[in-house]
Subunit: 380 residues, 2 copies
Amino acid sequence: MTEHPEVGTRVQRTSTTLADGRELIYFDDSEPYLSGAARREVVDERPLDGRPTAGTMRLDALTGDWVSIADHRQNRTFMPPAGECPLCPTGGGTMPSEIPAHEYDVVVFENRFPSFATESTATGSSDDPLLGNAPALGRCEVVCFTSDHGASFSSLSPARARTVVDVWADRTLELSALDAVEDVFIFENRGEEIGVTLHHPHGQIYAYPFVPARTAALLRQATEHHRKTGRLLGADLLAAELEAGSRVVIKGAHWTAYVPYAARWPLEVHLVPKRDVPDLVALDDDERDELAEVYLDLLHRLDRYYEGPDGAPIDLPYIAGWHQAPVRQGREVSRLHLQVMSILRAPGRLKYLAGSESGVGAWVNDVSPEAVAARLREVG
Amino acid sequence: MTEHPEVGTRVQRTSTTLADGRELIYFDDSEPYLSGAARREVVDERPLDGRPTAGTMRLDALTGDWVSIADHRQNRTFMPPAGECPLCPTGGGTMPSEIPAHEYDVVVFENRFPSFATESTATGSSDDPLLGNAPALGRCEVVCFTSDHGASFSSLSPARARTVVDVWADRTLELSALDAVEDVFIFENRGEEIGVTLHHPHGQIYAYPFVPARTAALLRQATEHHRKTGRLLGADLLAAELEAGSRVVIKGAHWTAYVPYAARWPLEVHLVPKRDVPDLVALDDDERDELAEVYLDLLHRLDRYYEGPDGAPIDLPYIAGWHQAPVRQGREVSRLHLQVMSILRAPGRLKYLAGSESGVGAWVNDVSPEAVAARLREVG
């Protein structure tokens, strides 16, 4: 892990260690590379417990899925009062934050309450194959997009968004190299409606020691399509959406955003590259440049989608997740894409995942995908 | 559909038709069989539109799942004011309800805003196999457990709960006989936290024209286990849980309730029969009698699980769903079980299905299944 080809020469990358041994990495994208310098002035002296270790994951024999049992996370930080944001630079508030610097551009660090960690002290096991378990090895990271507590991804400059793209690629490359890791999922949860407990603009990365259930389903379908046609499912779907046209929202030189034909969320958009690439690492400079622009454009549209009673736009609660090829399987049939989805089905009204969705996985969408796409084109 | 073996002689079963052609069935379990008589006095004269028809379902090529696109449901009844509950008997309020009777015991009727219906006017289709669609044929029903608006399933008498079990079996038998139907899912959503829009105690039934995604996963695992061992996965899991003991909550003569080893919800309990049965229809009288008692016991424990700040119990928001064998496949390896799950992970704190769960289907549970089981035994 000594070369860092993903962040180029524009970004200064500085790795350091927090008081409990967790890694923290600054990605400074502008002179005078403040945080890289500042970290030598601020030392993390918090009396933290030791480096967090992995809990256990259990195999759900009924479905074949792994479930992480992380009972240590029950006490994680929940809506801290102002001045105690753990994602703000240290020095701005009344207590030391997670980030021992007076300022930063983009910073990544290992989650203090991880669902998956690189070391395990788990000892439990079961003789019964129906009650299978394993240490929850892997890694969970937090990505702070900016030191500005009141910002959001959509308010970042294109240059900063471009830095975040490079950071995502950097993390994908490094986390994919860990022995335990089978899949790297990069995502952002935004909004209290989706359960966000920290308002500071940030995303997360989960590096799993297995291929998660939905990713496995994507892989099954992509493999079957490739076996039948010799082509990539993702590429054929993009061609079909471009041909149909009615669900396309943004069409760039390298990227297309569309509402998927069988959207299951009231508001769902896929952002897919023109070129067949398995993951973020494979994107070239031109593709990364346009991604920063197109993604910001998409987020601006999403924030204009609904209007409140006073006609003002509503900050959309959303989940945005990057579906990348698994680390060690199906890379030749998988195709990178971003899925953005929201549970807001009207101002003040949420879609709940109740009996049909949560019980048996049968989704009912009350909104026409074509109507969603038309509205997203209108607010561009 | 002229024989009704599931409800026996104790229950008087009367089918009628609402103003728009939807079927409504009274199940009267006590003298003088009020609603069966009353329906001849109250006629449903509401100026309703015609019988609701099926919308379209679309195939999500990325996952292989069917998604019902039901944009007509966007305007369904949402938290009606007092006196306008559509599930109360007509006459009690200021406007006619869905139920044209002055009183009733248990009643089932076709949902006015169905995700699946028996007739379709859908004409849309696509030439592209990647954009597959079909009419959303099937049937959606509402089951009112009592005419008492302020009651809940947990406050029903054992005799009434027993009637509901018979009604579930009746509906499973009839809906399984419909040509389009491949799977019958019986469920109850309770609590505003899970999105319930009508407080009157009721459950729902979805009769799907496909085997839903999670049900398909259960079937895959059960089939594989049967191929390897010649035994039923559900039976072996029950044996393993009884052997382990630490997650068992209630052990009856015919039914066992346990927190599953790999529980994914903060509060999740499975209620399973001792005997291998594929669905509710196959339960004998003794099993139905005990089911009514054990299920009420379980619901009472769930309502005592959490305490509010004043020490008072908290009505638990939950989803309860009956996993039955699909209608036309895998019946020999499937095993009936009830799954009860709650998103409440502490008083006033919900589990949200955010990036990991919603994006890739990887669940993280912050609560130890053994601790949940211990608490449920304690509040028995």
